[in-house]
């Protein structure tokens, strides 16, 4: 099915989700060029300024242009989350394929180790990592990837084990195929769809983790800012209902809800097509 035809059959919530996701991806990619002001520039006397023609999204607690800061912040949030979610899903899937195709004690050992990892709360792990190594974008990606790899592994392994018992895998074994071929060519293509849905979910988790970290002041460090740190630094504007705190919070919300809507309808449809 061509991409256009696929789009045509997407239910409404899926289309809305797709539009939101596309919007945020575009913002992350090109937002920097669209920003009317420099991120760090104090451009207004007015702190926690309201929506206005000069500053469409108001100004923050120092009088900086909120639109420019959101555009800049979304690039951090989305960029870091994408990288971390991609790393988590890829590692999880790869390890799961090795475990499931090898089977036996390899599978057993890997699964136990992953179970141990999964029992560490992700926030806790993040706090320890930041405390030990200091906060940097690379470390944040590593931390988030580490905390979500076991989850992705679990899903991927369950899928792979299911596929492994199917007759076409038995047929490949009887043909004399090696394990790498069976994993990559016979099993992997049959788990891509659900793993894409899982990837979307991981992405949302990472966005929330990073935002939470930044909100605690442990995430992206000034002068850079992601959506979470934007909420934090403007939190004192909450009582006056300043756009500076509402807008980044709304940005996080729309991003995560949009991704969720998209995966729900795409994976639901994949199931309907298979049935």
């Amino acid at each position: 099915m061509s991409a256009v035809a696929r789009l045509a059959t997407l239910p409404w919530p899926g289309r809305i989700g797709l539009a939101i996701v596309a919007f945020w991806l575009a913002m992350a990619a090109f937002g920097g060029f669209l920003a009317p002001h420099d991120v760090g520039a104090i451009v207004s006397q007015d702190v926690f300024g309201a929506f206005s023609a000069r500053h469409p999204l108001g100004t923050d607690y120092l009088g900086r242009d909120m639109l420019s800061r959101i555009l800049h912040g979304s690039r951090f949030t989305i960029g870091l989350a994408l990288a971390a979610a991609l790393a988590a899903s890829t590692c999880g899937t790869a390890i799961a394929l090795v475990a499931a195709t090898a089977g036996g004690w390899v599978d057993e050992a890997v699964s136990r180790v992953m179970d141990a990892f999964i029992s560490i709360p992700s926030k806790m792990l993040a706090l320890v990592m930041v405390a030990a190594f200091g906060s940097s974008p690379a470390l944040l990606i590593l931390t988030a990837a580490l905390s979500y790899t076991p989850g992705a592994f679990r899903i991927a392994r369950a899928l792979a084990v299911n596929v492994r018992t199917l007759d076409f895998v038995q047929a490949a074994r009887a043909r004399g195929e090696g394990l790498p071929y069976i994993a990559a060519v016979e099993i992997l293509p049959n788990m891509v769809n659900p793993m894409l849905a899982d990837f979307g979910l991981r992405f949302v988790f990472v966005v929330l983790l990073l935002s939470g970290m930044s909100f605690l002041g442990l995430g992206v460090q000034p002068p850079d800012a992601d959506l979470g740190s934007l909420v934090r630094e403007n939190i004192s504007g909450l009582f006056e209902g300043a756009p500076a705190v509402i807008v980044p919070a709304a940005a996080i919300a729309t991003l995560t809800v949009g991704v969720n809507m998209l995966i729900d309808s795409v994976s639901g449809r994949a199931r309907a097509v298979e049935a």
């Binding site: 038995q170 009887a174 195929e177 293509p189």
Partner: protein, 605 residues
């Protein structure tokens, strides 16, 4: 007298996911006089279940009864509202489905479920309904009619559950009983018990029934009249005798021909060099114990030889270990004891120690074509892999060979670009076969290659196998639960029972007694396309035997609990000896071959 059921101009349509309407049933009509059994026969997709369901005023989700008239016992079924339909179902019309297991709640005792309809419709008090149920159980030849109602569904066998479902349907004395493939899911030996019971009940109670089936031979035993459906239209209808013995319609003729498979290919002598030799094989599943024997032993002491170019058939009921045998030879299940030699060389039973050449020369065609082709790959890719893997063929050469292979299995070249999900069952089975042929194998292990297919499609695959054998000289290990298919394609037949080889011989020898008692039961249970076959069955097969008592010792004849000719003092104390006749015939039994031959030719047991 007015007929009990009259159907006129029935037309049923369905809406496809793409939005267009598909006609499932078109202009079907028939009448059933009271007390008669009408059979609806056709292949899968011919619309037989759709017609049967419409008699209850029911159309499956997405389907719509567009036009026509259905009158059951004076009631215009299609004009009923929901409440009217509800009263009709269960009381006037009862439905017995293909799989009884799905119709029972596993958590409730059987009796409660059997009498439920009577209580709901208020046709009887609880005590009266239970008494009636017990009488029905007895009529249906269920063991322990008084007590079986206290059991739960998992505590009875599949054949018994099917009969209990019949009791459930008959409890309200419905005017019309609809039986939808009620024995298709059963082994032949079980099917025969169920057929007998159904027949007796339908006849004794003078019930009017619609019997839906794809099996002409079964229908010949059960029905008075037959309607042949194909592609949603009635191709022919008439009395059983007329349809079976003097079919007028071209499609009916093909159906009749496919029901009685003709032998394909000339039998070969066993003088040629053996291609595959299996000696004293023991195999199974689960953890190995200290002696290296698996926890669940499935195959015991199996010997088997396949000569070059020969076809050896393996038959036996579900779970007897047929697939396991093929998997051991293919290297998917390790052998615990015994050895396998291929072309004179020992064949490692562990996959990892086999050479690519050994893999190439033995190909396995799995039972279920629906799951054996990777849904993510195109047919071209599926066929290209063995070509590249075994012979290094790529690009143009591979494409040419794929076209040849598709042609060999009589598929159009256009399927190459499709995915498995876009093919029919028969087409998938052909691709499955083509993939095996791509390796240019010497031996193909065919596991129930035709079982999932309609008779006519299955017959075409059997022809294909016979052609390939003649043209390419491949050997087959042909696994099936259906002895008539096996006899049609194989030079030699091996009968497995509970993982033991109980009977073996060439095609000619397997055509007449003596047989091992199990083989005898199996062969005699296959419905023949002959009216009155069921009534003429020899008495020795009718037996429901007294239980044997305590659990069987290992090594004793596994057929003991079901054997009608067992010899007390011998069969239950010592393992059965292997009796060998000249010409390679082998029977594992205590009873002498002369005696067996005498009993099975019609003498008393």
């Amino acid at each position: 007298m007015d007929p009990l059921v009259r159907v006129e101009g029935l037309r049923i349509t369905a809406r496809k996911p793409t939005g267009e309407a598909a006609v499932l049933v078109d202009d079907v009509g028939f009448e059933i006089p009271k007390g008669e059994v009408l059979a609806l026969i056709g292949e899968s997709g011919s619309g037989k279940t759709t017609v049967a369901l419409s008699l209850l005023g029911y159309a499956r989700p997405g389907c719509r009864i567009e036009s026509g008239r259905i009158v059951v016992d004076g009631i215009d079924v299609l004009s009923l509202d929901d409440e009217g339909r509800y009263g009709l179902r269960g009381r006037k019309v009862a439905y017995i489905a293909q799989s009884a297991a799905a119709a029972f709640n596993p958590m409730k005792p059987l009796m409660d479920q059997v009498i439920e309809a009577a209580l709901i419709h208020g046709t009887a008090t609880r005590a009266a309904a239970e008494a009636k149920a017990v009488a029905l159980f007895a009529d249906l030849a269920l063991p322990d009619p008084g007590g079986i109602g206290r059991r739960y569904p998992h505590q009875v066998s599949g054949g018994q559950l099917q009969r209990l479902m019949a009791a459930m349907a008959l409890i309200t004395d419905p005017g019309l009983v609809v039986l939808d493939e009620p024995t298709t899911a059963l082994d032949v030996t079980t099917q025969i018990e169920v057929l007998r019971a159904f027949r007796a009940v339908v006849r004794d109670r003078g019930a009017t029934a619609v019997y839906v089936s794809h099996d002409l031979a079964v229908v010949a035993q059960m029905a008075d009249r037959i309607v042949v459906l194909n592609g949603g239209r009635a191709r022919e209808s008439g009395t059983v005798d007329q349809v079976i013995n003097h079919p007028r319609d071209e499609y009916t003729r093909r159906l009749v021909a496919a029901a009685a498979p003709q032998p394909r290919g000339e039998p070969r002598g066993a003088v040629e060099t053996p291609l595959l030799e299996v000696r004293a094989l023991v195999a199974g599943y689960g953890r190995l114990d200290r002696d290296g024997l698996p926890a669940a032993r499935v195959l015991e002491d199996i010997d088997l030889t396949i000569a070059r170019g020969a076809a050896v058939g393996v038959i036996g009921e579900s779970g007897c270990g047929k697939t396991t045998l093929a998997r051991v030879i293919a290297g998917l299940v390790p052998a615990a004891r015994g050895d396998v030699r291929f072309d004179g060389q020992p064949l490692p039973t562990d996959l990892r120690h086999r050479s690519r050449e050994q893999f190439r020369r033995i190909q396995i065609v799995f039972q279920n074509a629906d799951t054996v082709l990777n849904p993510a790959h195109s047919i071209e890719r599926i066929l290209a892999r063995p070509l590249a893997f075994y012979r290094g063929l790529r690009g143009e050469a591979a494409r040419a060979r794929i076209a040849q292979l598709l042609d060999l299995v009589k598929l159009p070249a256009s399927v190459a670009s499709r995915r498995p999900s876009e093919l029919s069952g028969g087409q998938k089975q052909r691709v499955n076969l083509a993939r095996a042929l791509a390796a240019d194998p010497d031996l193909i292990l065919c596991d129930e290659v035709t079982s999932a297919l309609d008779t006519v499609v299955g017959a075409a695959i059997l022809d294909l196998l016979a052609d390939l054998r003649r043209e390419l000289g491949v050997s087959y290990l042909f696994i099936s639960h259906d002895i008539s298919t096996v006899r049609a394609v194989c030079d030699e037949v091996v009968v497995l029972y509970a993982g033991r080889k109980v009977d073996a011989g060439d095609r000619a020898a397997m055509g007449h007694p003596p047989f091992h008692p199990y083989a005898d039961l199996l062969i005699a249970s296959v419905p023949a396309l002959r009216i009155g076959w069921l009534d003429a069955l020899p008495r020795r097969l009718a037996a429901s035997l007294p239980p044997v008592g305590e659990a069987l010792d290992e090594g004793l004849c596994p057929f003991l609990p079901r054997c009608a000719v067992r010899r007390a003092g011998r069969c239950d104390t010592t393992p059965a000896p292997k009796q060998v006749l000249p010409g390679g015939r082998e029977i594992l039994c205590h009873v002498s071959l002369d005696e067996l031959a005498r009993i099975q030719s019609g003498g008393a047991a």
